[in-house]
Symmetry: C2
Subunit: 427 residues, 2 copies
Amino acid sequence: MSVALIVQKYGGTSVADPERMRRVARHVADARGEGHDLVVVVSAMGKATDNLIQLARQVSADPPGREMDMLLTTGERISMALLCMALHDAGVEAVSFTGSQVGIITDTTHTRAKILEVRGDRVRDALSAGKVAVVAGFQGVSTDREITTLGRGGSDTTAVALAAAFGADACEIYTDVTGVFSADPRLVPRARKLAWLQFDEMLEMAGAGSKVLALRAVEFARNHEVPIHVRSSFTWEPGTWVSDQRPPAGAIREDGAMEDPVISGVVHDASEAKVTVLSVPDRPGVSAAIFEPLAAGGVNVDMIVQNTSTAGTTDLSFTCPTTDLATAERIVRAVATEIGAGGVTHDDAIAKVSLVGAGMKSSPGIAAKMFRVLADHGVNIEMISTSTIRISVVVAAPMLQTAVRALHTAFDLDADADYSAPLPERS
Amino acid sequence: MSVALIVQKYGGTSVADPERMRRVARHVADARGEGHDLVVVVSAMGKATDNLIQLARQVSADPPGREMDMLLTTGERISMALLCMALHDAGVEAVSFTGSQVGIITDTTHTRAKILEVRGDRVRDALSAGKVAVVAGFQGVSTDREITTLGRGGSDTTAVALAAAFGADACEIYTDVTGVFSADPRLVPRARKLAWLQFDEMLEMAGAGSKVLALRAVEFARNHEVPIHVRSSFTWEPGTWVSDQRPPAGAIREDGAMEDPVISGVVHDASEAKVTVLSVPDRPGVSAAIFEPLAAGGVNVDMIVQNTSTAGTTDLSFTCPTTDLATAERIVRAVATEIGAGGVTHDDAIAKVSLVGAGMKSSPGIAAKMFRVLADHGVNIEMISTSTIRISVVVAAPMLQTAVRALHTAFDLDADADYSAPLPERS
């Protein structure tokens, strides 16, 4: 590979302690030694962010967003300063920048700000001076000059945004798994690592519950055509490329990977619950009456399914994160009374299983085959939702493993040998 | 007390955990309830700064100052955000500011920057809006727009600088001792709390080893005539005022305190070592030849004593922190050879004992009495140094407690009853 500008992002487990920090520094030093220009984005160390959230809860029932952002941004600042020190110790000139110092300008929405602009002058100056720029992930400064955070997965978003702003050749996301797999290796020992995924596939996988990359970061990468390379900071082996262009020759390892499969992976999500509104009067406006207050209440609704009307009423179900369930039920019960629905039930022992694959568009019958496989394994389907390259079903939680394994085998995804991988991290 | 602008500073033990943080919030809420305008300066929680320094050492043998400052400033940012949350929970409107957000402009000397200017516009705006301003201690932003720290005791300096900039009526320094004592209560159970000290006395006590207030902060307070009130965040009782003006009536508790004593306290410092250069040729320039390279080498020289010349040579001794001893000896040995001195010895088992009191100026014979008392208790004096309101002697370390107790009693400082106080903190 010729000399390039590369953005590298290291997640929390990659910089969890001084020993890991020094390993990362050595890897950065090696890449620098090959002549590459490097922008390195870091997450908070290990459980640092969770610990800070815990502290906040111990002093306040409802911490103001502005102070929460000030609190949480310290985690990445600690990481970036320590990594610069470790790089200095490894003989690499490096300089750290907070989101504010980089000029990552966001809107004023604390705890989940959106990036409006990346100025980046100080980073460009550092690169011109031959230095590695180390940037605190997850943070920016608002148009009101307040410190903001980008929400869950924010460090991935920082990395992709910087790669887009600087026209980087690649954005490497280092984590504690070796790439994106055809299924969660904890459920499916024969899951295989995918060498290359297109943005739409990765988006559908992230939306369907894959935790390897944050959805927002993938959207950002697609919109700005930033090739992502997800890989391990423990084994350093080639990982999974996410790009609409085929990765450069030699950049991907083809062994164990399939050529253009119909289905790329089986993704599951056990973190949601289902709410059903019974006997909803079948007239215009009732759906809006239900989902507008849910949106206003901050409930993150995922799947929505409405049955065909019989006798002038219909049942309407939706899923949302289990953490939103209490709020959702409270809101929906009030609405149900107003609109004269028959009642509200919920089920938090569900799991969503999704098939994702770009090849689905040109391969009819995938859904039928999926339903048949599940039926043959005694798995009952409670809800169905589809996109052009994804089919998702909701099943009872205890059937999750059976469903995922059966589909993985039936769609020819099983690897010849077991791949084992550690738990995925959230940045 | 009428409505006032008060700067309150809380040290590390005062905000060591969420429970203490909430106690501080209640105290701030009470002061706010009395109508006072409040600027609250916080240190890092408990051992947070030490833990960060430890992390830095684990990744780098010689961390760059710029990154060290970025790392350490996170400690106070965590504290200020959490305290704002706790205040919010206590129903007090509060807003946090980093040193940079306050506009604490420093020079560019990382890890021990000097404050050049306090802009403070955002703090003034917050106060005008009826809010409590919570400020991260120990930090500023340099004229190069880099994050800097103010060195040891930096949070005290921040508090005093803000009190000076805003013309505060008082600067309250909350810590884990109830005030400044006539001696360290760990050595002298009958040490008594001093109700009021003048700046020069406090300066001499800080210089002689008292850890209650940072020397720089006291200098700053004297130069800007900021009355300091050192008090406990555990008992909240009235503490010690440091001011050249007598504190307002009712502000000090006179019981157990003396009226204008000759001696205010006996201060000790067991953290230094002594270096002696033997048989130094007695000619112009030799002292400079010794102390210039020591200064250049960063050795913090305290006392210097040179004996009268006999037979054309003299012995020259100085003290410095034990942590600087190795460096000092290396430098001095080289110089000793150059200038033809007889040799170099050192002794790290020494202690410095000082008497401090503004009344000393008008009371002759204090030194003579001090030497007599020590002699009567079998304490040999190795070095002597004096100022107008301080006499310091160096004694063998094992004699420290004997010396301090004997002087405390002989100069009528013993309280009628035992005061016990926890260990002093460093901010």
